[in-house]
């Protein structure tokens, strides 16, 4: 008679596949996970608490550090919330710059995901590919605002820096290059049998579960729910551009993979249109009062970050500092389905499933 005993296995917080400081305690029976308990908070810096003693301009750099792979969308959600409360209009050129950097950011973020996900699954070269292209985007950002990761680029009412001469042309040149590379990516990985064996049918859930758990982004769309805030609750100037929202059918890791690759393609489509329509001149800051004091009351705005719905809830008492500021972080909400996904799975699928959720710990812990 062979007997198996339950074993408690600790993964993280310093595990390379958690991409940050994430810990998960798994109970395994043989090779099957019977229970998984995520432990988070290792990167909690109290952003919301800090924000209560800062004015809105000072909070912008803190948002960079939440989802540090998508600082531009974080910048935007805060500024958007304040603009909404104060009824500030953002000039055309600033809107375009915001949209362009947010879409470039989406591509950069998906590239990091694509490279590291495959690295987690044991393929090294895709990582090198992805980081090469990502580096080009980072350089573009660097040229725009002098930072590679934490940009502090947007302000209430516009953007801090106008595009330097020739910058738009560089973005224009990047688009066909990225399109070409994307085909390479597809050829290299998407049909690879080893890869398919590790992601097809793995980490599966249906649309009902995804909705009940409040998942968003590719984690929601992989089940066939067509929900993208750029389309469904348009913000910025997204309603002016043509693009498709890719959805999956099976709700597994492979669908999430395909959706993220397709989203890069769609972002390039948006960028192509935006670069063509980019206004040749104009202001980059709207009319903003000297002291930014949103009227007493509250607002909740949300936008589509690369990871899903990022929201900002501001309670203002008419002061320069928010009375309460809450960020709805997609990684945090998406991650809570993990224990359910892991139950009954083989231990060898743990990393494939965790990676498929696409979390950034800075955002989970905030």
């Amino acid at each position: 008679m062979i007997r198996t005993e339950e074993l408690l296995l600790n993964v993280g917080p310093q595990h390379p596949s958690t991409h940050g400081v994430f810990r998960i305690i798994v109970k395994i029976d043989g090779e099957v996970i019977t229970e998984a308990t995520p432990v988070i908070g290792y990167l909690h810096r109290g952003t919301e608490k800090l924000a209560e003693s800062l004015n809105y301009t000072q909070i912008v750099p803190y948002t960079d550090r939440m989802d540090y792979l998508s600082a531009m969308t974080n910048n935007y959600v805060l500024c958007y919330a304040v603009e909404k409360m104060m009824g500030i209009e953002v000039p055309e050129r600033a809107q375009f710059l915001r949209l362009i950097v947010m879409e470039l950011q989406r591509i950069a973020s998906h590239l990091v995901w694509w490279g590291t996900y495959l690295l987690d699954l044991g393929a090294l070269s895709p990582f090198l590919f992805a980081f090469k292209e990502r580096e080009m985007i980072i350089n573009l950002f660097n040229e725009l605002c002098g930072a590679r990761l934490t940009y502090n680029y947007m302000r209430v009412g516009g953007v801090k820096w106008d595009a330097p001469p020739g910058w738009i042309d560089k973005v224009r040149d990047f688009i066909p290059h990225m399109e070409k590379q994307l085909k390479e990516y597809d050829r290299l990985v998407s049909g690879n049998e080893i890869f398919l064996a590790r992601v097809k049918g793995i980490g599966k859930y249906d649309a009902e579960t995804a909705i009940a758990y409040g998942l968003s982004g590719a984690n929601l769309r992989c089940t066939g729910v067509k929900w993208d805030l750029r389309k469904d609750e348009p913000y910025c100037i997204y309603d002016r551009f043509e693009f498709d929202v890719p959805v999956g059918q099976n709700g597994d890791c492979y669908d999430r993979y395909l959706i993220r690759l397709e989203e890069i393609r769609q972002s390039l489509r948006i960028l192509k249109q935006a670069v063509e329509q980019f206004p040749s001149s104009g202001e980059t800051m709207g009319k903003v009062p000297r002291a930014i004091r949103p009227p007493a009351g509250e607002t909740y705005v949300r936008i589509e970050s690369p990871r899903g719905e990022i929201g900002c809830h501001i309670v203002s008492k008419g002061k320069a500092e928010p009375y309460r500021l809450k960020f709805r972080r997609p990684s945090f909400n998406n991650l809570q389905i993990l224990p359910k996904l892991l139950e009954g799975e083989s231990i060898s699928n743990l990393i494939a499933i965790l990676g498929g959720v696409d979390i950034v710990l800075g955002e989970v812990d905030c």
């Binding site: 917080p13 810990r23 432990v39 988070i40 908070g41 290792y42 909690h44 109290g46 919301e48 608490k49 209560e52 003693s53 301009t57 000072q58 750099p61 909404k84 409360m85 502090n152 801090k160 909705i211 009940a212 758990y213 409040g214 998942l215 968003s216 729910v225 929900w227 469904d232 609750e233 000297r290 002291a291 004091r293 949103p294 009227p295 007493a296 009351g297 509250e298 607002t299 909740y300 705005v301 949300r302 719905e309 929201g311 809830h313 309670v315 008492k317 008419g318 002061k319 320069a320 009375y323 309460r324 809450k326 709805r328 945090f332 909400n333 991650l335 809570q336 812990d365 905030c366």
Partner: protein, 355 residues
């Protein structure tokens, strides 16, 4: 921050702040701070001043309502889950801090081996830390009193006046808001000829359903929040929240099966939990607020209705100390398991200010 300052040099804020500084001599600071609290228009921008206000305020509040022992009375706080590597330094640091400051040494129990017998030891530590803090604050107040033209001495009455003024202002605002809402809710006779929001029917329908299907008294308040893109906002009584949540999710007219966000707010007079729900097909959305008492904050959990409320409710519990009866696993999520207090409460005072 210095980088931020550098970047902001080109903006008009900086000279204006400097102007403000020049116009307000140090001796006038506390008074103008008081008026700034009562009426939002003239506000001090000088950092030292705001720091002083921030420093004195929570200390007084902490003395009146010590919120530190609260976690012990709160349900669901397993100590076993804590990561020893992370939490141990926290505790010993707190003990070290208390040791030199409290001369009696009553709280100077060693931080080692704090796992099992936490309570008495921790309470002693808390007490010591509080004493130390009081001493520090007294010293600070004395120093400021010497330097700042005798402004530091009369902290308490001043603060009470401030609180009173703030409360009055709040009451006035609330009254104004209520009046506006009354006009809005009446619908047929609005004060100004403003067209009703396109989302008004959603609000009316949900309120009607909540009143007929859940309880006639279930709805406390229903408004269209214009600042949030005309969000239909309904305040539901806590005792009817569970039934209301099920109605919101399951009723064919509402069908809000997607919970997008959960927030908690400490309003000082009361606490509030806000649930943002939406129907992804019809895009019909609501913000549901549940008010709760501040001393024993408790809101029935929505996790049985929307599993996605699990972590967000834990976060609200962790940061604001609001209890969610019916939650399957209510324990801290972001802060360490043995953390004392709930940081986003307005009367929160850190156990160890150095951390």
């Amino acid at each position: 921050m210095s980088e931020e300052n550098k970047r902001e040099e080109g903006r008009p804020e900086v000279p204006s702040a400097a102007e403000q500084q020049q116009e307000s001599p140090a001796a006038e600071q506390p008074e103008s701070a008081a008026s700034a609290q009562a009426e939002p228009a003239p506000e001090q921008k000088e950092p030292a001043n705001t720091q002083e206000v921030a420093g004195t305020e929570p200390a007084g509040a902490g003395a009146e309502h010590p919120n530190q022992p609260q976690p012990d009375t709160m349900p669901g706080q397993p100590q076993a889950e804590s990561a020893p590597g992370q939490t141990a330094p926290e505790q010993s640091q707190a003990a070290d801090e208390a040791k030199p400051a409290a001369s009696s040494g009553e709280g100077a129990a060693s931080g080692a081996g704090a796992g099992a017998a936490v309570d008495p030891e921790r309470e002693a530590k808390i007490k010591a830390a509080q004493e130390a803090r009081a001493a520090r604050l007294a010293a600070k107040a004395a120093a400021e009193g010497g330097a700042g033209a005798g402004a530091g001495a009369a902290v308490d009455p001043e603060r009470e006046a401030k609180i009173k003024a703030a409360q009055e202002a709040r009451a006035a605002r609330l009254a104004a808001k209520a009046a506006a809402e009354g006009a809005g809710a009446a619908g047929d006779a609005p004060a100004e000829p403003k067209p009703p929001s396109p989302k008004q029917p959603w609000l009316d329908e949900a309120v009607e359903l909540l009143k007929t299907e859940v309880h006639p008294e279930a709805v406390e308040e229903a408004v269209i929040n214009e600042l949030a893109g005309d969000m239909p906002t309904i305040t539901v009584k806590a005792e009817h929240w569970r039934a209301a949540a099920e109605l919101l999710r399951d009723h064919e007219k509402l069908g809000c099966r997607y919970l997008r966000n959960v927030t908690g707010v400490d309003y000082e007079t009361h606490m509030e939990v806000v649930y943002f729900v939406i129907n992804l097909e019809t895009k019909r959305e609501y913000a549901i607020k549940i008010r709760t008492d501040r001393e024993q904050p408790s809101v029935p959990s929505a996790t049985p209705v929307w599993p996605g409320a699990n972590w967000p409710e834990r976060e609200v519990y962790d940061l604001l100390g609001i209890d969610f009866p019916g939650h399957p696993d209510l324990r801290r999520i972001l802060m360490p398991d043995d953390w004392v207090g709930h940081p986003l409460r307005k009367d929160y005072v850190p156990l160890d200010p150095e951390v």
